[in-house]
């Protein structure tokens, strides 16, 4: 008999870590939605944002700035770095490749990944840098109901909260603003968007900037969890099943996909692992993604492929 308390604890822990996957997946969704480019470099952007933040923070604190001012300045500095990156990518990589086929653009983002990883570590260093932006204390809930209570990490709660705000903000941006509408228009048809006077270079800069800022948010949470280090780039791989399950074009899909992957892999590890052997956590998400692909290739929330005959 599985204890309900243990089940809830694993579920909550899983959902919360799922939210963190969602934060990374969001960056992919944004760029794919707006330019049809599958941005392989999202993981590298998280690394770059994290390194820029943590290194500037350390420097400011070492120079006697109060911690709050240091945090504000550090985030500002990292945001500027992401803006510069967005501009460079638009100017030198994506801009010259307008109207090329999707695979060409995808390959170019693989190139961007290596350049970003290299440049970030060359400029900011390649050690593991601890980042303490959010409390990582543990709460014990419902101690009166379950023996030992339910263990929840405060960081996970913060992560969930931030992801919620981010998604709400992005949804408003995409649905309600003129620039958001133009982004979706560009995603549908580059050429037609240009023909109605939407400056495509500017739109792409905005997309990469927003993706960069999302990467920065992901970096604050992941950096606190794992420390800022090279292995953060592997998050990109964890985001893939999230994207397949949630749908490449849907912001809510990225969140729900993240939750499913997070909860699914933790539950599978704890409750199935004991029967069929451990280590399920590492491949469970991919199997789940495969199953979704068979049933619903556009993902749970993805846009249907509209094809008129």
């Amino acid at each position: 008999m599985i204890a309900l308390g243990q089940f809830l604890e694993v579920l909550i822990g899983g959902l919360m870590s799922g939210v963190l996957y969602s934060l990374v997946a969001l960056g992919f969704v944004l760029i794919f939605k707006a330019s049809g480019v599958f941005n392989f470099a999202q993981g590298a952007m998280v690394l770059l944002a994290g390194l820029a933040l943590v290194r500037s923070l350390d420097l400011l604190v070492a120079n006697g700035f109060p911690i709050w001012i240091a945090i504000v300045l550090g985030i500002g500095f990292a945001a500027v770095i992401m803006a510069i990156t967005a501009w460079l990518i638009e100017r030198f990589v994506i801009g010259p490749l307008v109207n090329q086929n999707a695979l060409t653009l995808f390959m170019s983002t693989i190139g961007v990944t290596f350049v970003l990883e290299g440049a970030a570590q060359m400029i900011f260093g390649s050690d593991v840098y601890p980042l303490r932006l959010f409390p990582t204390d543990i709460w014990l809930l419902f101690e009166s109901h379950f023996p030992g209570g339910i263990l929840v990490n405060q960081l996970d709660v913060w992560g969930g909260l931030i992801a919620g705000i981010l998604v709400a903000g992005l949804a408003i941006f995409f649905q309600q603003t003129k620039t958001g509408r133009a982004l979706r228009a560009v995603a549908d048809d580059h050429m037609a968007a240009q023909s109605v006077g939407i400056p495509i270079g500017w739109i792409w800069f905005v997309v990469w900037l927003v993706a960069g800022l999302v990467a920065l948010v992901a970096a604050t949470v992941w950096g606190t969890k794992l420390g800022v280090q090279f292995s953060i780039t592997f998050l990109a791989l964890k985001a893939l099943p999230v994207l397949i399950i949630g749908g490449l074009t849907s912001v809510p899909g990225a969140i729900v996909g993240g939750l499913i992957v997070g909860a699914g892999e933790k539950l599978a590890e704890v409750f199935l692992g004991s029967h069929i052997g451990g280590g399920i956590e590492y491949w469970f998400a991919y199997v789940l993604a495969l199953a979704v692909l068979l049933v619903r290739p556009q993902g749970l929330f993805g846009e249907r492929i509209i094809e008129r005959i």
Partner: protein, 279 residues
């Protein structure tokens, strides 16, 4: 005092759009336009006629400066829109100055609603939301069908509705000139007629100038005042629309009406060859 006056008269007489002997090359090697010249007067409707691959679309894209993203380039000649060299402007500058293209095949944004599609046309405008909302109603007045379907996803509307949506979207930019590429493509004759009537309406009431690329020669010559016929990247004939429609060669090659006596195929081929050589 008389000098500025003279200057104004020449300006008024100058065509709104003038394309002077342009050559267009794709991918640095494929020569598509081999010296096309044409004039569009202010407030006119000019038809650009010709078969598939004659260079109609390329001509329009050269005017709207959309060739770059297809690896095309104007290598010779010049295009003046309202007295400004088009090559020096970006596509969005051109839209801001009042020249917008409605591309071949409608090209609506499939995942946006009809209303969102129309609103994207107003991207370059800075005159405020109220003016844009007013224009939206104006577009719905011209195309009542779009009003009924304003909330539907554009990708699921009919071909005729998409064509209306594409024209409406262009209207939202408050254009002075619309480059309309093949509006009749894939549409039922009745819808084509409806769309051409609206084109005429817009021309008369809103004073929008049209440069119209069409394969449907019959329809185009009915509504246009002037026509150019392109063949293999060259203008082979031009004239007033009624004159063109009455021309024996146009009838033979583009309207499918044979003259009194049937020409043999061999003669036709010979004639075409000779004409190309002369052009």
């Amino acid at each position: 005092m008389s000098i500025p006056k003279a200057a104004t008269t020449t300006e008024a007489a100058a065509p709104f759009l003038s394309v002077n002997n342009i050559e267009v090359v794709y991918d640095h090697v494929i020569l598509v336009l081999k010296g096309v010249s044409l004039d569009v007067p202010r407030g006119g409707i000019v038809a650009l006629l010709g078969a598939n691959g004659a260079g109609k679309t390329t001509t329009l894209k050269a005017v709207s400066n959309l060739l770059h993203s297809e690896r095309g380039e104007v290598t010779k000649g010049s295009i003046l829109f309202d007295g400004v060299e088009v090559q020096s402007l970006s596509p969005n500058d051109l839209v801001r100055r009042g020249c917008i293209q409605v591309m071949e095949g409608r090209r609506c944004f499939a995942h946006l609603t009809v209303e969102e599609n129309l609103l994207t046309g107003a991207f370059t405008r800075v005159d405020g939301k109220a003016a844009i909302a007013e224009d939206l109603e104006r577009v719905y007045a011209y195309f009542p069908r779009l009003g009924e379907r304003r909330g539907s996803t554009a990708g699921y509307t009919s071909g005729g509705e998409q064509q209306m949506c594409a024209i409406g979207r262009a209207l939202m930019s408050r254009p002075k000139m619309i480059l309309l590429d093949e509006p009749s493509m894939g549409l039922a004759p009745q819808i084509v007629e409806e769309i051409f009537e609206i084109v005429k309406d817009l021309n008369v009431r809103e004073n929008v100038t049209f440069l119209l690329a069409e394969q449907n020669t019959n329809m185009a010559l009915k509504y246009a005042r002037h026509g150019y016929i392109l063949e293999n990247g060259r203008v082979v004939m031009d004239g007033e629309a009624p004159a063109l429609a009455a021309n024996e060669d146009v009838k033979e090659f583009y309207l499918g009406i044979a003259g009194d006596k049937r020409k043999s195929f061999r003669d036709v081929k010979h004639y075409k060859r000779r004409k190309r050589w002369l052009a």
